[in-house]
Amino acid sequence: MTRRTRMFSLTATTVAIALGATACGGSSSTTGSGSPTKGGTLTILNDADYNHIDPQRTYTTEGSSMDYEIVRTLTGWDETGAHPKLVGDLATDTGTPSKGATVWTFHLRHGVKWQDGTDVTAQDVKYGVERFFSPDINGGPPYASQWLVGGSSYKGPFKGKQLDSIQTPDKYTLVFHLNQPVADFNETTTMTGWSAVPKAHDTGATYDLHVWSDGPYMIKSYSHGKELVLVRNKYWSRSTDPIREQNVNEFDAKFGQDQSAIDQQIKSDAGTGQTAITQTPIAGSDLTTIANDPSLKSRFYKIPAPGINYMAINTGRVKDIRVREAIEDAVDKTTVRGAFGGSAYGDYATSVLAPGIDGHKNFNLYSTNPAGDLAKAKALMKQAGNPKLTMSLSVENIPTHEHFADAVKTALAKIGITVNISPLDKNNYFSIVDNVKNQYDLTWGDWIADWPNASTILPILFDGRQMKTLPQSNNNLAYLNDPKVNAQIDKAAKTTDINQANAAYGALDEQVMKDAAVVPLMYMNFSDLGGSKIGGVIDDTIMAEPSLVHVYVKS
């Protein structure tokens, strides 16, 4: 899953303080405590509009988080406890696998209604999932077309064809036939696209503006790039929904203000700032100041993300493992983290899988000091014959990244590697570096799991076979094509036992680190700020977003 990074930010800072209004701080209530009150409007301030909220097209954390208020997915995460718990959402339970996890059956709850009062049926879900396949409905995740039988040739429902591998034996039963075993398919179905869309209300490419609700809120008005207003869906019932509440009267999402201005407006906690929250992460210099401000502590949501910020070393171009190991030891993660916003940004990483992800294993193969081990790195370079190397490093052309690149350049200069920095257009960054035609020696990357399972991280980042199958969207930036790794990936995917699978992924993580294919930099946190009158925000560690499913506005 991608996190929409900050939009092209030109503005410095604007502080929004309404004249005469004084900040009424001092609210000591902490996240989640206190009893929810009904009513009020929650304002969401984001720098830019969601890429999509059409559930089959949504593939960003902000969009997903908003979508969860409007649409219900087959399964979902209950995050009120210490760890996210997988529960049935539209489905009564978390699904039943059969035939070695190649067939999955879901039974839908009775009494779930659309916003016009009609029932949500299995056919609606089937139609919704079929939409994934239409080229008009682009932008969403690839899993449906990868896994459903016949998916490679199906082109979506708009021309009247159906996908036979999704069966609806009755109004409330869905059966998915997969072309390979997928042990965690019921976690895949927590993604927004695995939801119902009523054929009669589908508007195709423009469905973003007309998403039909079966969740607690429905679209009242949506002006692209400006404002999205959600109001209560009166046909939604708490009794059929194990995840969501319906506390506030309205969500009012406003877009287009500069992120710094948003941060300042919420920080000042005046006027609407008191009931406002931002979904786009606070970054760079603002993060430092806000994270270090004790008065903001109660309103500052620092959410660990199931992802990794890393620098891939192209194993096809930097063939000498000693050089790669030297790079692992030479990179000074303290200056790198400084570039991304300091300690609030996240902990230093030593592995690909972050602590919150199933399969995470605690190990460190390289320097124990985050600032690096120069002596060891130099020794490794000496073993490699002290080659005079020049390497390219691709980053996005935003200040944070440029500073990161500088930090790497400085560190590697100390072991005799000259780094040429390639700042690439940030909007096209991944479409450039993911194309196998554009290979850099060092490539910055980040990845957030689509669901908190190593299966949506390691295979995607290190399966060497995708260089051939996905030449234009090869996520294997390390160009690692290690037969051991590939075999391990296949083995882990087939393992239906969760503990065994986790162990397999842990070993895979360690193998990748042994190959010195990536320099893991930070286990990211995403930080957002809310106003003092907001309650019921829970940490969505799946999306790394402040979850709004229980949100309320204090009166």
Partner: protein, 330 residues
């Protein structure tokens, strides 16, 4: 007059057509791939081909251009039977990014640029012409030197620097004004005014300089004209000589530049001002669309902006013809 207007408008349409064609060509040469951007993070080659087809990018250059051109007059339909989207004429296409008609987006952003551009233009025209006249009348004296000096500083100052400085002083430090931005006038006139005050001020500082200089030099040129001496020789008071006889003649070149400036300002040229003050106008839309390789929006914003510039040209010529009796529009 009517024939002149028709001819000028036809020429304007030709220029716009050429600009559209050039934009198309440039987009073709753009290194990025909008289909890949639309496709998402993990995109198989076959899916990519389908999306290219869905966006119409697999068609030849001429076909795409013709489709666009046709859409301008006849509208276009998008999508398959059950979910057809109609984009009425003049159709500038659907955004690759948001699938909304470009024209709708443009018209939605237009009020911000209109407010920003017109508001600033009125002030810098009035102030600039006033200061310029003062400088011309007091040529060589302190007032002139001050006006010319200020004008030069204004011309040399960078919008983003002065804009940020104003923000820092008025919003952050003294907290006299709320954060700037655009609120529709219909929604809250007071917020509209307060939010645009600093952007206006910034544009005024930068443009004022130009108008002061322009008026001053234009005035000085007119002062050297024989008819100004005639006016004085008639016994007209100095004020009337300057305001009636001088300004009337000196204003024509200023009208030309003013027309062009207003045209380009409301057409979205105030990109930097928009970005500094967080105003979601057409300039920002254009910058974003270039970065997202959103061809229909790039085309739309370019055409929109160019239309204003070209139309401003025609309007300026017509006004010129009305102001200067020597010019005959034929």
């Amino acid at each position: 007059m009517l024939r002149y207007l028709v001819r000028r408008l036809l020429a304007a349409a030709m220029i716009l057509l050429v600009i559209t064609a050039i934009t198309f060509v440039i987009f073709y040469a753009l290194p990025s791939n909008p289909a890949l951007l639309a496709c998402g993070k993990t995109c198989s080659p076959s899916r990519l081909t389908e999306i290219r087809h869905s966006l119409g990018l697999d068609q030849s250059f001429l076909t795409q251009f013709w489709e666009f051109f046709k859409g301008l007059f006849a509208g276009r339909d998008y999508g398959d039977q059950s979910v057809r989207v109609h984009c009425g004429a003049p159709c500038l296409g659907l955004s690759f990014q948001t699938d909304t008609p470009v024209l709708t987006t443009l018209l939605g952003d237009f009020p911000a640029d209109l407010s920003l551009g017109l508001g600033a233009a009125v002030v810098f025209l009035v102030l600039g012409v006033g200061l310029g006249m003062l400088a011309a009348v007091r040529r060589g004296r302190a007032a002139d030197k001050a006006a010319v000096g200020l004008a030069l500083v204004g011309v040399s100052v960078q919008i983003y620097f002065i804009g940020l400085l104003l923000l820092f002083l008025f919003v952050d430090k003294w907290q006299i004004l709320p954060a700037s931005g655009y609120t529709p006038f219909t929604q809250d006139p007071s917020a509209w005014f307060q939010g645009l005050l600093l952007p206006w001020a910034t544009l005024v500082i930068v443009y004022l300089a130009m108008y002061t200089r322009l008026t001053r030099s234009s005035m000085l040129e007119v002062f050297a004209e024989d008819y100004m001496r005639t006016a004085r020789a008639k016994g007209l008071p100095a004020g009337k000589v300057v305001l009636k006889h001088g300004l009337r003649a000196a204003i024509t070149p200023i009208i030309t530049i003013f027309g062009m400036d207003v045209g380009s300002l409301i057409g979205g040229s105030a990109v930097i001002t928009e970005s500094v003050f967080g105003i979601n106008g057409i300039g920002k839309l254009a910058v974003d669309s270039v970065q997202n390789s959103d061809l229909p929006v790039i085309l739309g914003t370019t055409l929109f902006a160019a239309t204003f510039v070209v139309l401003a040209n025609v309007v300026v010529d017509v006004v010129y013809g009305l102001v200067d009796p020597r010019v005959r529009l034929a």
